[in-house]
Structures are given as C-alpha cells and as structure tokens.
Symmetry: C2
Amino acid sequence: MAEPQLARQAALVEHLIGSNLDGLLVCSLPNVRYLTGFSGSNALFFLTPTESWFFTDFRYAAQVADEVVGASHVVIETASLWKGLWAQLSTRPGTAAFGFESAHLLHRDFQRLLEDGARWTWRPTCDFVEGLRARKEPREVESIRLAGVIATSALERTLAEVRVGMSENEVAGVLERSLRDAGSDGFPFGTIAASGPRSALPHARAGSRPIARGDFLLLDFGAVFQGYCADVTRTVVVGKASGQQRDVYAAVQEANERARTQVRPGMTGREADALARELLEARGFGEAFGHGLGHGLGLEVHEAPRLSRIADGKLPDGAVVTIEPGVYLPGWGGVRIEDDVHLRASGAELLTDFPRDLIELA
Amino acid sequence: MAEPQLARQAALVEHLIGSNLDGLLVCSLPNVRYLTGFSGSNALFFLTPTESWFFTDFRYAAQVADEVVGASHVVIETASLWKGLWAQLSTRPGTAAFGFESAHLLHRDFQRLLEDGARWTWRPTCDFVEGLRARKEPREVESIRLAGVIATSALERTLAEVRVGMSENEVAGVLERSLRDAGSDGFPFGTIAASGPRSALPHARAGSRPIARGDFLLLDFGAVFQGYCADVTRTVVVGKASGQQRDVYAAVQEANERARTQVRPGMTGREADALARELLEARGFGEAFGHGLGHGLGLEVHEAPRLSRIADGKLPDGAVVTIEPGVYLPGWGGVRIEDDVHLRASGAELLTDFPRDLIELA
C-alpha cells in the first residue's frame, strides 16, 4: 500500500497549481507531520509540483531516516533551518510565486521572506493543508478510535480509585498514569480535573483542592495513539447527587445525546452548535453554556472544523469532531459531557464509548 | 508587599517611553502571565504609560477576577479578542505609534494591525518582555527551586520502581504520577524516556520499547510549581554498566560538573557552552555533543538566554538556566545530565539536587 503522505502531497500540489503557486512553505508542525510523517519539534517543508525539501536539525537526524516520506531532499541543519531554505531555493527563478501559511508564520519569520526571500513573490495562504486534514482517511479515524479506547479504559480505572479527600492533582496523576499504561503517547493537553465549585471553570487545570463529599468532579483529558488525539470529558458526583446536580446533569446529557446523534456533514458549525444550544436554552441554561459545541480532532486536539455560534463553515464529510455541551453555574459547579464522533453522510459514528448516565462514586 | 506585576509593568513602560512607543500589544501568553498573573490560554494585553487593557474570553471570566493584577480595564469577549481591542483603542489619536511582538504575532494577526488598526503606526519589537523575564526575581527563583524539589523527589521514587521489561511508556507513567503526587501542576513538555539505543535520540518521546538488562535509560522531564518550570535529566544503567557506558558517562558527568560550577553572568552563551564542549572535544566526543549546553528557564521551559555555539548574547545576572551536556552515539546510546542553576555574580547556585554519579539499578 502506498504511503498516505504521497497522496496528501499530490492533493496539495493540485491545490497549488489551481492557485497559481509555484511552491508552498509549510511551517506548521502538524501540517509538516501530515505531509511527511515527521513527528519532531523543529522542521520546515517546502513543496513544489516537481520537488520538495525537508529541513530539520541535528537532534532529529536519526528520526528523519525512520519517519520522513516523500521529500526529494532532506537537509539537516546545525544552525537555522532558514539558512538551509535559502541555500536550496537559490536556483529558483525570480518569477516564481510561493505561498506561505498566514495562520502559522510568525511576523519575525515573515520578515525573513521579505528580506532573504525578496527575489520571489510570497502570497499568504489559509487552510490549504488544514482543508485536507479536515476529511479523515479511514486509517486516521481508526487511530482516533484507538486513542478513544485508551482514554475511556484509563477513565474507568481512574474512577475506581477516586476517594473523598484526594486532591485534583492526585486524581490527575492516577488518570495520566492509567493513560500511559493503556498505551497513550503522552497527553495532548493539560489534564483538567476540577472539583466542587471549580467545575464551573470550563478550563480549570488540576490543582491542590481536596475533593469533598457531594462534589462534582469534572475530568477533561486526552490520549494520543499514532499521533492522533482523542478528547473526552465526563462529570461524576463523588457521593450522592443533589436534586440540582441531577437536573443540571440531565440537561447536559440530553444536549450531548441530541447533538451527538443528529450532527451531520453539510451542516454549518452554527447549525450543529444549535442542536445542543436550543435544548439547553429551553431548560433555562442558555447563558450557562458559554463556549462552542466542539472542534475538529486529529493530529491536533483543536483543529478544523469549529462547531460554535460563530462558525459559518460547513462540516466536511469525514470530519472527526468533539461534541461537548456544558453548563457552568459560577460558585456552584458545572457539568460537561464530551464525546468524539466521525461525521458520515449515513450518520454520526461514535468513537468514544463510555457511560453517560450520572455516576455517583461510593 | 506590592504585587510583582505592577513593578514589571512599570519597567516595561519605561522601556516603551525610551523607545518612543505609545503602547505595546502583548500577545505572547507567557508574557501576558508575567505582566498580569493570568494563567489561561487565551488573552491579549495592551499597555500604555497611563492605562492598560486585558482581554480574554468567557471561559476565563471567573479566573480573571482571581488572577489579573494591574489592568485598568478587563474585557471579556464572547467572540474575537481583536474586536474588543479595536473597540477599546478607538479613541486613541491617529498619531500614536504602538509596538507589537514580532516573535509572537502570527502573520494573520499582523494583517489585522495593518487593516483594522490602520489608523495607527505599528512597530515590531523584540524581547521587550523577555528581557525583563531573563533576570529572575527572588520569588521566581524560589518557585523554580521548589519545582526542582518536586522533580528530583519524583525521580527518586520512579527509579525505585524501574524494572527490566517495563516499557518506556510505563516508566513515564510512574514518573508523571510521582510528579503529580509531589505537587507538580502538570508537565511543561512531553516526558522523554529513552532506553537502549533510543537514548541516542536527543528528543525521543517515551514509546513502547521494553527496557532490556544493561540498557541506558535516559529520563528528561519537568515539573511546574506556581507556573515556574524545572527541567531535569538523568541517565542510569538498568543493570551493570559496561566499560564503554562508564567512559561515556564519566565524560558527560565531568562536562556537567565543569559547566555547572564555572558558568557566570556576563559570559556569552557561547563561552558558557564552551565550558562543556572543550572538555567533551578533548575526550573525543565533540561531534557527539550536537546540541547547545542549555537554555533559560522560568514561566516557559525554553526561554532567554540561550547557551550554545551560536549564542552571542551575555548571560544576565539573575538568569536561571539549564546545564545539559550530552553525548549521543547513533545505534549505541546516549547520556545527558541536566541541572538547573541560578546565575549570580558570586557564582552559580545549583537549584536541582540529585546524585550525578552513575546509578546502576539492580
């Protein structure tokens, strides 16, 4: 079977030709990984219809040989990758027009294009590679599904160990070790473990707060498998749930269920968001759902497309997205229930399998 | 005692006035944190000599009240922070010249300055805040020292659990849980756990490889305390060390010792790097030490100053830097020994206390 990177590069070249560009400078590392397979932390990739150049530094010399696919030239630099770029491009004609990634190139590096690359025309591009990445190949979906299995099995082991009096940091430690033991290649973002009133902070990192009886415990965390991320949230009660906890939880659970089963490719991000938002508004929680419904998932834990009140774009067939409605009542607490789904014309395929009914830990 | 953020903002304002700037747009999140105390993941800060504006989104509304110091205006946006910026700046005179952070602003956002901010003059700035951050305040050094205590105590617990046959991922899991239990607020970078020949890859993430008897095991990891990072590496032998392992280890240990005790503020980064490099070259390992000696450490795990063959800048009095010489022999293995030191005129003060003699795990 051909390497997927070659087909991705071919699709990108078609896009370049259609945009009258003679080449594209790719500086986003996830985009470089998608196109070449390279998983390190320092690289540039320059693609033309006939040749391509991959640049990295000494630390990754051995890794390049194992990983990089479809680069006609590999350049290992000891100092700046940019020096290598200018040396390699020196024979290109001054009539050439090259694209660069406007959403990833820093102003400092943009100045390099205007100075060291002044011979050529440079045009900002947007979402050339991200557009390809948004439609997942079957093998990518499979990697995300396996990351989801790692995530949910680690969650199951963790909930069995949670006790009143443990700190959020200790719970995060149990969860992260369980993720490692289950095969996760690290963590795509800082684990959120928020208890009691802190569960009302949608992005609270784990802290030193000890868990009290009757607290909500919100766990939002990820796993990585073969470079692909899963992103899962569950909220449980440590002890017996109160009536208000049950009511808030039920509303979020319904919103998760409705959006998760009814989301389809071809909807706009706003229409998808509305599936959950309308239901929460009807329950009186519209104001308390202050973030968007979800986001694309893949090599990055936040990527295209977006699902929110301000997302006009259509959801591509084949995208993998999170569905994560939440209700946050400042000073009291919050609930979020997050799953990952694969959008297909026939329906939304669930990639994260873990109970959604309210769990009360003994 | 006054909040340190106020003194930092005052120092920055002096810098602005000296540079004939009427304001600075700060978009780097670690810089925003240094100036305001905000630890979230989405913010802009705009500072003028008389007023300042802090912008973030809904998710952080509660966190802002707890954390943000020294902002005359706090703006919580539901959509784009940039919209809020333009609304707040609308009354500023068109004669104003504002700075922006060239090394942190994306080209996409630079275009916003040229379009939505076209009324004003925008000038690229470099290292305005980073220059302040490079000289640590006593309380910052203390936070890094405590992060170092967390890191080394977690390492001690982890080494007691390492056994032949465990995978690198399992070792990373033990280490990360020990870090959490010791009080680390997450991990400043992906844990490196590299065994056997993989220890020759300077930036190998932990993987599925099982540890064999006689392997080198290189652990490079960090801890975070009150936002400040420690960064530590130790390399051990799982079993009995061979003669070659002892020789390579001894050379790296000497290089660590020499650089760690002789580095001083006022040296250039290149001179500091040479302390270790000359010794490794004399042992025949010059080529095998392919990266720089170290880097600054603080709110970020890589920050100013740099210590390497190409670092011309002088090391500031008060900087905290890593000292991490290494020798990597492809296909065989590698050794790195990394400590954190505080540079003072009176000498380099060691912040990470853990044995450096070769450890052979039974």
